[in-house]
Each structure stands twice: as structure tokens, then as C-alpha cells.
Amino acid sequence: MAVTTAPRRNAATGDGRRPGSVWASLARAEARRVARHPLVLVGLIASGWLLWSMNRDQLPQLTGYSTYVGLGLAPLAGAATLVGHLIASRARRHDTVEIESITPALERARTAGRLLGALVVIPIAAVMVAAYMAFLFLIGGAGQPDLGELLVGPLVVGIGAVVGTAAGTWFPNRFTGLAAVGALAAVQIVFQDAEGTRHWLAWWHTVLWYDGPDLWIRPSWVHLAYLAGIAAVIIGITMLRWGLRPVPLLLVGVGIAAAVAGGIVQVRPPSEAQIDAVFDQIANAPNHWVSVDSPGVTYRIYPGYERWSEWWDGTVQSVLAPVPAGTRPNLVIEQWHSGYPSQLIDEFGYFTAEGEAIHDRGQHLQAENDLYSRQDRDPWPIWVGFYVYRRDSLAIAAAQRAVGFPLEPVEMEGREWTDEEIAGFGKGPTSVSVEEDGTETVIESDQGAWWPGQEAGEAAPVKGDRIRIQVPCDAGGQAREVVAAWLAARADSELADIYRRIRADGPGAEGVFDFADAVTLDSGGEGPPVAAINWSALGWTQFGSSTGDGVRPVFGSPAATDLAAQLLERLDAEITVAVTDHWVEWTDPATPVQVIIDAFDLEPPPTAEQWLERAGLDSVEYAASIDAYPPLTGNSEQPNPVCR
């Protein structure tokens, strides 16, 4: 065994030795280990999958994606927390404390190196975000990315790393890493549902169902300062493990100042001008839209989202392809921030600030209300949203429009106004507060008198007047229902798959109706199973949803779905030629579905009992449940009108 002796070095400054930069060298070494740690790799894969899956059913959106980036990177943040903890507690766990302790590197240098090394997850996360945004852009992403919001994700991942390192430094046992992950999750859970703008204090902002990120009013860079301040505090506390030294104390002080200032500023209500500007986008949407024309279709879109028209148009033109020239409808497709104005008022209040100032602005949304409800709009538009409008929904809407189904609800007169309701007119909206002892107190609003039609200057309802309601029409077994279902399904393969599954398993087994869970008859009296049950068993289809596009349109009656699924199994060219040749006849409201069945020798659709059987429902229980729930038409006393 040969012994070679290294040239003896100057102990402090000799070749290869730089005492002051141990932390930097250690950080590089730790960073290399963190970057290839199995937990980090698992976190990356999970985050990638989450980002992809969250975007799967939505149009690619580049605007303000702290939610998707923050939530999507949550697995990586959790992994960073655990790995930070493992690094910091490694010497204790592996019993190398003694060997490390007799090296000239002080504990604070070792901890600083580990902290910095763990922070390598920030650039890793940033690269992932950049790749994600590039992916979204390449597949047609629209909107303006907000760098401040995008950086939230990597910074949250970095916070995970420093929290894990802090836990491992102060409490180096194997459980504190998991506790740190739990603590980080708890902060998100507590704040994301906090009232008013305090929800901004969560690590990332949680998107609600109806909102568009363009409506958010938050200074994203202030949130970053808030997060960075928290990170600085945690880093300082970690370093204080090795004594009260100036730099850690300074970090804690500056961090607290940044976190507190950032927290206060971001939860401060936005200015009147900011709120007005955002409300103007909603209430005066036509003033903001730009038009994009395609053969037979006009898209009205918010600036920055023009690229989405290509996405939509691919579906719409595919639907319209079999429609003979000259009979194609003129379609207008409008982009809206929400499904229904009143929903938006609440959601918008959630995003901005508490207080009446927001809700008072609900009056401003009357213009949007008008656009929604004006019966004289021709052609009646198809509404598309910012997040949730899927290709299958658009295909169905376009197909229904192509065969001539109305998309607007039908106005009917329902029951008479009650005495209590009439008494309430002129006093304004009221609410009833019920005390613990059962005492009811009527709280009158100060928003003034209200009654239907008030804005149009109509007189308030009087005794004997009937409530005007809008209801969907009933396709009633028309042949065009099958044509519409087939047009939509051939334009969207996912929808075609859904139809095939419905044919095989019955509608109750399919989740596409949003009511699938409620189809179970024993789901109790609180839920809304009526819609699904009525739909699935009685076999009529609602066209023209009275609740806007926040509720996804009906996919076609079970009978039409079953027949369309059969058509999809045939040669597409054969069906296309036949549909084109018989377009006028088969889209006539007077043509029954039997014509289609005979033309293609299709199997008759299942009876209501057979549908129930496919759905796994008992017909007797089903009949009882129907009796337990009123018809979907609510306060209408008449059956739904047949679609014309």
C-alpha cells in the first residue's frame, strides 16, 4: 500500500482552500444532490401530471396562472420540503455529526450551504413553469401571462425547501419533515377560504369555477414580496439555530417587514378606478370585444384571446361541414367572463374586497343582464367562457343551432305571485334572519324597490299577475335531435366516446351530465337529482338553458344519444351524404325520429324502463322518486313547450 503525501498547504489560504466559501461549495454539492433526489423527481413528475391534467379540459390560458402554477407545483413544493428536511437532518440520521463537527466548517456555514443547496428547486420549478407556458402557447394559449403570478409557484416551492431545512435543523427527527409539509398545507387551506381579500394571503390563489383571471385585482409583485419576506424570516430563524448573529437577525427583521407590508398591501381593497375598470370589462363587454370572422361564424372575443377563435372554429366548422351550403346558420360566439351575472358579483367580491362597494356595483351589471336576456338578438349567440367551456359543449351548441333548435329559453307564465312577494315589492329585497329561539326578523335592504321589469319601467306586479319564467323547450322525439347529436359527436371524439358509453351502460353511469351522482335514487332530498332523473328517463331534452353557460348544455336525450352512437358506428361518408341529401326533411321539427331509424335501419332506442335498468335504477323506486320531486320546470304549471 503506497502512501503519497500531498504537498502541505497553508492552513488558511493555501492551494485549494478558501475558508470563506465553504457554504458556497457545500451549496453546489447539496444542490446537485437535491436536483437528482428521487423525491424531487417524483415531485416533478407529479407536478407535470397535475399541470397537464388541470389544463386538460380547458382552453390553454396564459393569463394570471398563479393558481395552476401554484397548485400544479404543490407536489414539487412538498417534495422540496421533505428533501430540505432530509438534508438538514442527514448528519443526525446517519450519525456523521462527529466527523462533520471536527471540520473547520462551522455549523452556520454548513446550514447556510444546505439552505442554499435546497433552494435549487426554485430554478428547477422556474424551468418547469417556463416549459409549461411554452407548451400552453404552442397548443394555442391565449391571454397575457403575468410574470409576478407565474413566479408564485417557484417561490412557494422555495418556501417548501427552506421550511423543510428549518425543521430539519431545529428538530432533526424523522417526523418533522412531514409536519412541515402539513403546516404548509394548513396555511393554504386556512387562507384560501378566508373571507374577503384575506384569501390573497394563501400561498397561491385558488380559481373558482366561474371567474376569469382578467378580473383579479391583486398586485402580484406585492404577493411575491410577501412570499419572499416569509422565506427570509424562515431562513433567518434557521440560521439563528447557531446563535444570535447579525445577518440572521437582519434577515428576520427585513423578512417580517416585507411579509407584513406585502400582506397588508395585497389585502387592501382595490381602488375605485381599478374596480370600475374591471366592471367595465364585464358590463360593457361589447365595447371591449374584437371580432374574428370565419365562414358563417363571427367570434366576439376579449383582446388577447383571439387565438382561441382558431380552437373554437376547428370544432364549429367540423360540426357544420355536413350542413348543405345555403342552409348553414349564421353563428355568433361571444366570450363572457361568467356564466351568470349574479354569480359574477359574488365571485368578483371574493377576488377584490369585502363590503358593499363591490355588491353595489352589481347594478352596473344590468347591461350584461340585458345582453343575456334580450330576446331580439339575432342570431342568438353561443356563449363561451374563460375556463370551463369544453369543445364538446361548443360542438353541441353549434350542432343544435345548425339543426334549428333555439338556444334561448322560452318565456312562459307560471304561477301567480304570492301575497308575500307582492308585499315585498316596493320595499326592496328582504332577507329573514332566524334567531336561535326561532324568532324571525325580516331585514330590509336599502337598495330600494325592486320587481321584475323594474328597469324597463314596468309597473310592479299586482294580485293575479303570473310570474314570467324562462324554460327550456322539449325536443319531443324530433329527428333533428339525432342529427344534432351526430353532428356534435363526429366533430369531437371525446363526445363520441361518451355517447358510446351511454349506449352501452345507460346515462346514469356517465358523468358527463354533472348530475351523475344524483342519479342514484337514494341520494336524499337535498340534492338536485330531478334534472337527471327527468332527463334520463322521460327522454326529453332541454334546449336553451335558462341558467346560461355556467351549466353545461344538455348532451342530447338518451334516445337521440343512443341513435347517434349507432350512426357513429357506420361509415361516416355514408351518413354524411345521407344527412346532406335529407337535410331539409330531417331538420324539420315535424319529422319524427322514426324516420332516421328507418332510413338507417337502426335499433329502436331503449324504453324508459330499459334505460333505468342500464343505469342500475329500480323502476319502482324511480317512480317514487319522481313523485318526491317537483318537475324541473319549477314554478311553471304547464309542460315545457315543444321546440319549434
Binding site: I99, P104, A105
Partner: protein
């Protein structure tokens, strides 16, 4: 290199009611100095104090001419010190190279190229180069001890403290370790502890025999053996008057103790002297005094 690399006086260390070191003192110069003693003698405690792992409760220590109780001096001592613990821990998921490299960073070898050169050198010294990229968890116990020795050699320390470096090694590995240590001791101070008297005899120029927290003997291995001069004899039957006796391969009984008149005394070994030392309460009292 400092002539007296390590000097300590009246060192005392207690662990609750147990007195691990009781006012021990010595000066250690170049070459290999061995600490010999039974389990619980205080060898490891003394070595940990000399390695700056522990601080004594009382007494003074000077290492490489510096006072380890002063922070700046302690850091400087650690720059020039190599230490191999008795039961070293390892980052089991690291390879040999990664682990030694990690410790090299902590030893302030921050220039990557120079550090890697140094890491390869010490791995080569302990003949682990073929296994440099194996995970430590895949190594045998003997190989792991070589990893521990390799990290202690980083940055060419002037003072090398090895706590039972040959424990658990097979005979061939022990011989290899002896070779390495003897070569390393040519230009630095090595302090090692051992149960193995033959290791001490083979390696050490100076020996401290310890028991119950005290130093019983200071001297050369030869002097330890001389301590038993005239007290080791052979006889065909066991003599119950002897302190210790065992039957040798030749069939005779080897006795240690006060030889009977006419007994066939033989030249003592260091082991004979060591056994007499630790079995003699008077020796403890004499050295304590």
C-alpha cells in the same frame, strides 16, 4: 510540524456520575503514540477531547500549539487535524467518492479541481480506488473503516487521531492499516487507541496505558514489556499462585505473576506487561500520584 503536537494537563471529564477522565496529562510528539486500555478506560473520551469533539470539564489542552477552547484557535486546529471516530457514521446513499468529497468541502477544500485531486489521493492511499464509485452501503465493514480513514487524511493533517482504527478488521486488513499508518507517521503525529497490543507493539513509539480514567503507564512498548520482566514463566502444570495462566500450543502453561522460586522465566511481551499493568491496583495508585 510542532515538536509537541499535543499536550494536556489534569484533564477531567465526567458523564453524570461516571468519571471518564480523572486528571490525566501527557505530552505527545511526533511518531505514533498508542493508547492502550480495556473498555471504559477513557481512551475514546481522551481522543474526542483531543479531536475537539468534546470539551474537558477541567484541565488544559494545547493542540498544535493552540488552545482549543478559543474559537479561532479551534478552527485553526481543525484545519490541521484528522480524526477517525471509533464508530464512524456514513451517508449510506453516497458513493465513497461523494462522501469523502463532501467531507473535503467541510475541510475547506473549496476549489473543485484541487479537491477532487485530493479526494482521489486519499482514496488511493486506503486502496479504495476500485470501489470509489460504489455506494457506501454496499461496502464491507473493513472497507467502511478505510473510508473513515480516508476522510481523516484529507488536507494532509499534521495531527491524526485514530480511535481503534483496526477494530473489526481481518488480519490482512490490519497489516495493511499498519502499513498505512506507519508511513503516515513519518512526517506527522499520530495518536491511536487500540485493544490490540500487537498493533501497538508494531506501530507505536510511545504508549499510554489507561484504565478507569487514569493513565497507568507512559513509555515505549519495550518498557511495557520490561514491566513484566521476571514475572512470566512456563510450567507443565497450572500454578494457582499465578495471576493469569493459559495453556500454550506446546502444551506448557504460560503464567504471569510473581514467579515461584526456580520457575522457568521467559522474556515477556508487551501483552504480558499490559496485563500486569491493568491487573495491578497499585499501578493505578502510583501513576495517579
Amino acid at each position: 510540524m510542532t515538536d509537541v503536537a499535543c499536550q494536556f494537563t489534569d484533564l477531567t471529564k465526567r458523564f453524570r456520575a461516571t468519571v471518564a477522565l480523572d486528571r490525566v496529562g501527557a505530552a505527545v510528539g511526533g511518531g505514533v503514540t498508542g493508547l492502550l486500555g480495556p473498555n471504559g478506560a477513557g481512551k475514546t473520551t481522551l481522543l474526542r477531547i483531543l479531536a475537539t469533539v468534546l470539551a474537558p470539564d477541567a484541565g488544559t489542552v494545547r493542540l498544535l500549539g493552540r488552545d482549543p477552547t478559543r474559537s479561532a484557535d479551534r478552527v485553526e486546529i481543525r484545519r490541521r487535524l484528522g480524526y477517525m471516530p471509533q464508530e464512524p457514521g456514513f451517508h449510506r446513499n453516497f458513493t465513497v467518492f461523494e462522501f469523502v468529497d463532501y467531507i473535503a468541502i467541510l475541510k475547506e477544500l473549496t476549489n473543485r479541481k484541487a479537491r477532487h485531486h485530493e479526494v482521489r489521493r486519499v482514496i488511493d492511499v486506503v486502496e479504495l480506488t476500485p470501489n470509489a464509485h460504489k455506494k457506501i452501503r454496499a461496502l464491507s465493514g473493513g472497507m467502511r473503516r478505510r473510508v473513515a480513514l480516508a476522510q481523516s487524511l484529507l488536507a494532509d493533517p499534521e495531527l491524526l487521531i485514530l480511535d481503534e482504527p483496526t477494530a473489526g478488521l481481518d488480519p490482512e486488513q490490519r497489516l495493511r492499516f499498519r502499513d498505512v499508518i506507519s508511513r503516515l507517521a513519518e512526517d506527522r503525529t499520530v495518536i491511536l487507541s487500540s485493544h490490540q497490543t500487537d498493533d501497538v507493539a508494531a506501530l507505536c513509539s510511545h504508549v499510554l496505558v489507561m484504565d478507569r480514567g487514569r493513565i497507568l503507564f507512559r513509555g515505549s512498548p519495550r518498557q511495557i514489556a520490561d514491566h513484566a520482566a521476571g514475572q512470566v514463566w512456563l510450567a507443565p502444570t497450572r500454578d494457582s499462585a499465578a495471576g493469569l495462566a493459559w495453556r500454550t500450543g506446546d502444551g506448557d502453561y504460560r503464567h504471569i505473576g510473581a514467579a515461584p522460586p526456580g520457575g522457568q522465566t521467559i522474556p515477556p511481551t508487551i501483552e504480558d506487561g499490559y496485563l500486569l499493568l491493568i491487573g495491578d491496583p497499585a499501578a493505578l495508585d502510583e501513576n495517579a500520584a
